[in-house]
């Protein structure tokens, strides 16, 4: 039996310990905000925060996060008003929106680590998250806005 804390709530899993966290979150815990995009840590759509680090849930097993604290997009802020989320809305970032939970989680982790990133640092740090619609200019501006106060 593996115990893991997700968005502040203790959850347990007695199935395959190698099950990717992504599928545990989506199919077993019902937290569908975290998305499947590639399964190989190439696109960042499944980004969640484990303790204070952004990780790709598609290549992280449930066993890897045993006893640790996982934050998903659903748990980032109780009313959805994390500065990154507010900035995203102010800049009208999304097109289709599918990659955005992963983008937001990556940006939130970036700002925890570096509260005032430069534009180059933003472009570098967000490069693991693909947006096929091509919202990069707005993502960059929204991260910058979140770092300077929304």
């Amino acid at each position: 039996m593996i115990k893991v804390k997700i968005n502040g709530q203790e959850q347990s899993w007695d199935g395959d310990p190698d099950l990717p966290l992504l599928w545990f979150l989506r199919d077993e815990a019902g937290l569908t905000g975290t998305k499947f995009g590639c399964g190989q840590a190439l696109c960042g759509a499944c980004t969640v925060i484990v303790d204070k680090q952004a990780v790709r849930a598609c290549i992280t097993s449930v066993n890897d996060v045993a006893g640790r604290e996982v934050t998903t997009i659903e748990g980032l802020h109780p009313t959805g008003d994390h500065p990154v989320q507010k900035a995203w809305r102010q800049v009208n970032v999304p097109q289709c929106g599918f990659c955005q939970a992963g983008q937001i989680m990556q940006a939130a982790a970036l700002l925890m680590d570096n509260p005032k990133p430069s534009h180059d640092q933003i472009r570098e740090s967000m490069a693991g998250n693909i947006c096929r619609c091509g919202c990069y200019q707005r993502i960059e501006n929204a991260v910058h806005l979140a770092s300077t106060g929304v």
Binding site: W23, D27, K35, W88, P94, Q95, C96, G97, F98, G134
Partner: protein
Amino acid sequence: MNFIDNPRKLRGFEKNIRVEKVSRRSILKGLGVTGGFVLAAPVMSRQALAYETGAGKMPHGVVVDPRVFVSVAPDGIVTIVGHRSEMGTGVRTSLPLIVAEEMEADWSRVKVQQAHGDEVKFGNQDTDGSRSTRHYLIPMRQIGASARTMLEQAAAKRWGVPATEVKAVNHEVVHSASGRKLGFGELAADAAKESVPSIEGLKLKDPKDFRYLGKGQIGIVDLHDITTGKARYGADVRLPGMKYAVIARPPVTGGKLVKFEPDAALKVPGVEKVMQVRGWPWPSKFQPLGGVAVIARNTGAAIKGRDALKLTWDDGPNGKYESAAYRKELEEASRKPGLVLRQEGDADAALKGADKVIVGEYYIPHLAHVSMEPPVAVADVKGDKAEIWAPVQSPGGTREDVAKTLGIPEANVTVNVTLLGGGFGRKSKCDFALEAALLSKELGAPVKVQWTREDDIHNGFLHTVSVERIEAGLDKSGKVIAWRHRSVAPSIASTFAAGTVHQAPFEIGMGLVDMPFEIANISCENPEAAAHTRIGWFRSVSNIPRAFAVQSMVGEIAQATGRDQKETLLALIGSPRIVKPAVKDLWNYGEPLDSYPIDTARLRKVVELVAEKGEWGRKVSKGHGLGIAVHRSFVSYIATIVEAAVDEKGKLTVPRVDTAIDCGTYVNPERIASQIEGAAIMGLSIAKYGEITFKDGKVQQKNYDDFQVIRMDESPVVTNVYIVPPGPDTPPSGVGEPGVPPFAPALINAIFAATGKRIRSLPIGKQLEA
């Protein structure tokens, strides 16, 4: 009480006409493949319109009925139905916003409800071809005006005053003479009893009174849900007792399963069952390819189970498809005459007599859509009833195909449309929903079929592969006097009809025969090409290779004559005029040429606008260069300037992009800008990396590592968008797709300006290195 209650026969819509299917799925009929059909559809009266569109010719045409699209609750909440699929263009916001504008609803008290697939009720729902605003601006205004009129009539009756004395203003109806007011909610029950006014009598708002249209101040309706993880896409649907499935499909198009060994898969924890899935013989339209499904308690277990399957395939007739050899075939075909599609003057003679002939042979490979959300669908089939939840661009077509595949009446099929995590044409094909329906029927339980990224790349409906060969003949003064363009590419029609070797009218109409240059001798030809994989629509379709070839050739002509690119381009476009190519039944994106002519004044205008705003001719740093391109597609006009920078090692960056678009009358300029910004990224992905190759009939790429797309660190530093203000009554035209085609040639022309290297083969890949 709401407007949807007690549907009655509509007044003003009695005229039923027979319409032909002309949408992307209509190709079935055009090719003589069974499955096409003709239906009567109510259409709006034409008299009230300033312009005509092809909307009435789409399957099931247009429905203009406020009782179908609008309901008002007693608390005043107005619910407006969005009947098109949302894949990122903002259509789920834009169309309801048009209704709200006309009915004087306050947007903060409007809810948008997604329509299920029902084209008899809602009219055509095929969300493709950059058509939604183009076809629905006027119908949505009429629906809003009808609802407003009914609310005004109800208020006038309540007060016993003539309807001419009352006016709806911001969610209430006012009688200014007496100062009385009633909210929409208070009037809802009475308004529902009013008859629907005739379209001819409707008074549409004066555009100067618009609060929302053309302003760009409204965010998309799903913005909060998207940023909080609540937005529901196809894979986010969960039903009690639902099973999770992934499918191993034939690796070669037209291949078949010989045998499978399920034992190892069944030992994987969480795997419950392994079963065969029915496939259809190639060319199989949108029908499933077949294969072996692994059913599990979660997707992770299903994927792990599939990895453990032992499978034997018969690769069939396409087992030798190989990209390098196929490219040679296309190139050779392009060097010989082909089916002549447009002939003006005598291109052969003029080329022979030319002072100089410039030849460009351009290659553009297969591309995969790789929308962030891979195909996925949930189905619950019980007896002769089926319910589907899926991210489909064609909810009506999906409903038809599910009914046919299961052999049940269409009325028994419900297609719930979720948000689409990107579409780009891939989700116009509903094969993934059909797979879910087949599995659910067999299992007697709800099933979710999840495609992995590898499935998406290996078993998609790829963008075609083409060689575009252009010969331009110049006289002594450098004027172009002859133009021969041969386009060789397997057709989308090959996915529907075996033996297809020529491109369909809708493909040749995308930048080949509608070429707008003022040249005396023109020949447009289409040599034969057979398909060896499933070809499908990809955002902007054949305009990608055509704009790349034609606009690169403009750059080559400028290069050869030592003239400015922009001046060369304007000289080729020639005088402001309406171009009438000598082509029988010219395909014009399904639109009448009277409303949507090929207008070189508008083409020139976007070139001049982007040159002015984008500072054409500005001084750029060493290693940088500017390139320009223009293209008309989806009846819109778009010009792009790209600044490219190439360092000593051949590393390419894009410091700046400027794009001007003339899309006629528009609804939401903020979403237009976001579409054009995104088109620059997709254009750069195509130019820099986009290539799917085949070996032994199989796609060689598998995921985002070997089919790369642009990431943030290499995206253009800034993309500026300029929208041409529409003239009065300029018909709306496409936005979702037309931003893509001019990007690659503008970039290639910029790279030439920066380095003196002319790239004729996409992707750029390592061509700039060393």
